[in-house]
């Protein structure tokens, strides 16, 4: 099956839906039409720009350009993870977000490219960049939920944590309920995504491949691989983020150091 190529006029037809949304907003005084217009414009400009950029990068096969793009994407994700919690570690939340986001995305991407996908060369940007893009979305979710789960709740749980310390428990034991809750919360989105895949939702990658003309069974294989990678990277990020965050809130005498939190 050959993919049906889309022309600008074809996309303009879909734009009619947005015009209807805008008209509803004006008619019912919902006042979201301005935000919708700006978001639509941003979305189109961003995607067109990234489309041309990726076309250029894919044609070049330059490992340095690929690495630079991956680094830029990862740093934006690090920033998003770091700013999401309402509390800040002294020295900044990036101390936790940077090693986890960058470490996990590098590890998972290299693992997938060298074992399951095996493009030639292994860093082929046509595979590496979309893969990192998808993984970062999941890593960002897991990292920010885990970090918020620890930093935003540790003050509320202070009395319970210190009560356990006073019974002679280690800091790790005393903070285990908090860390466990943070990791479990961070895993909810990817677990829901896997549970719903194919029944409640048709995941984006698989749908995109089928719309582009791919065989559904082949598309499903890619989707299964991606969901496994997403679950694996989410778990590594959630566990690494929660443990690293709580480790910044103690000292050599296993005290709870909330003075290290702003």
């Amino acid at each position: 099956m050959t993919p049906l190529s889309l022309h600008t006029a074809d996309i303009a037809w879909a734009g009619i839906l947005l015009l209807i949304d805008g008209a509803l907003s004006v008619w019912l005084r919902l006042r979201f039409h301005r935000a919708l217009a700006i978001a639509t414009l941003r979305m189109v400009l961003q995607l067109v720009a990234v489309g041309y950029l990726l076309r250029y990068v894919f044609a070049g096969h330059s490992p340095w350009l690929t690495a630079a793009i991956l680094l830029a994407m990862s740093l934006v994700a690090v920033r998003e993870v770091a700013v999401r919690p309402s509390r800040r570690l002294r020295g900044g939340n990036a101390r936790v977000a940077l090693p986890n986001v960058v470490g996990v995305v590098l590890l998972t991407t290299a693992f997938a490219l060298m074992t399951a996908i095996r493009p030639e060369p292994w860093y082929d940007p046509r595979y590496a960049i979309p893969l990192v893009g998808i993984l970062l979305g999941s890593i960002l979710n897991a990292g920010s939920i885990a970090l918020s789960g620890v930093l935003d709740n540790v003050t509320l749980r202070r009395e319970g944590i210190e009560a356990q310390l006073m019974l002679g428990r280690s800091f790790r034991e005393a903070t285990a309920p908090l860390v466990t809750r943070a990791v479990r919360s961070a895993m909810v989105p990817v677990i829901n995504q896997m549970a719903a895949a194919g029944v409640i939702t048709l995941p984006g990658t698989m749908t995109g491949q089928m719309l582009a003309g791919a065989d559904p069974v082949n598309a499903v294989k890619y989707q299964i691989l991606l969901l496994i990678l997403l679950a694996g990277s989410s778990c590594l990020t959630a566990v690494g983020t929660a443990f690293l965050a709580i480790s910044h809130l103690t000292d050599e005498r296993q005290r709870l150091r909330l003075d290290r939190l702003r």
Binding site: R158, G160, A163, M166, L167, P177, R253, R255
Partner: protein, 199 residues
Amino acid sequence: MSLDVQALRSSLAGPFDFHVPSGRCLAITGPSGSGKSLLLRMLADLDPCEGRVSLDAEDRATMSPTTWRRRVALLPARSGWWADRVDEHFASRQADERGALARDMLLADRLFDQPVDETSTGERQRLALIRALLTRPKVVLLDEPTASLDATATLAVEAVLRCRMQEGLIVVLVTHDAAQADRLGDDALVMRNGTLVRP
């Protein structure tokens, strides 16, 4: 056995120097915000501090923090809980002993089956004291342990403490209740602006 404190200080309070022998109670009174609770937290090794604290001539710095906190138990004014139900905070093998302590402190056995949220502040204070005593500490640091109790329950708690003191327990008691300081305290100090003075 004794608790010895020498030049204990933090950026907010101290220096503190005192000595409490085995089986005795040091009662500390003083206005709110003067540093009484800070002193107890420093003794429990919950806040960073300088100076020397030793138990039976064994320096705290030479012990692991978990060992120290098993020997020196702090009961803050607001007790801490980390699970939903009361009995999840107690080891099941200690059910008999905890039941006996609960009866001595005028608490019903059924409390252990209840959610923590459904107990009163006074019940939680006594339950937290039972939880601490079950670990058989050598020192208890009590911050207003009977602030939410009526006169009868207060005397019951004091009787339990007195009984443990006869077995050698060292008590450092922070209270606003001068009568309680007189009843329990073998020695009394007053906290003023972060330092301890004789009354």
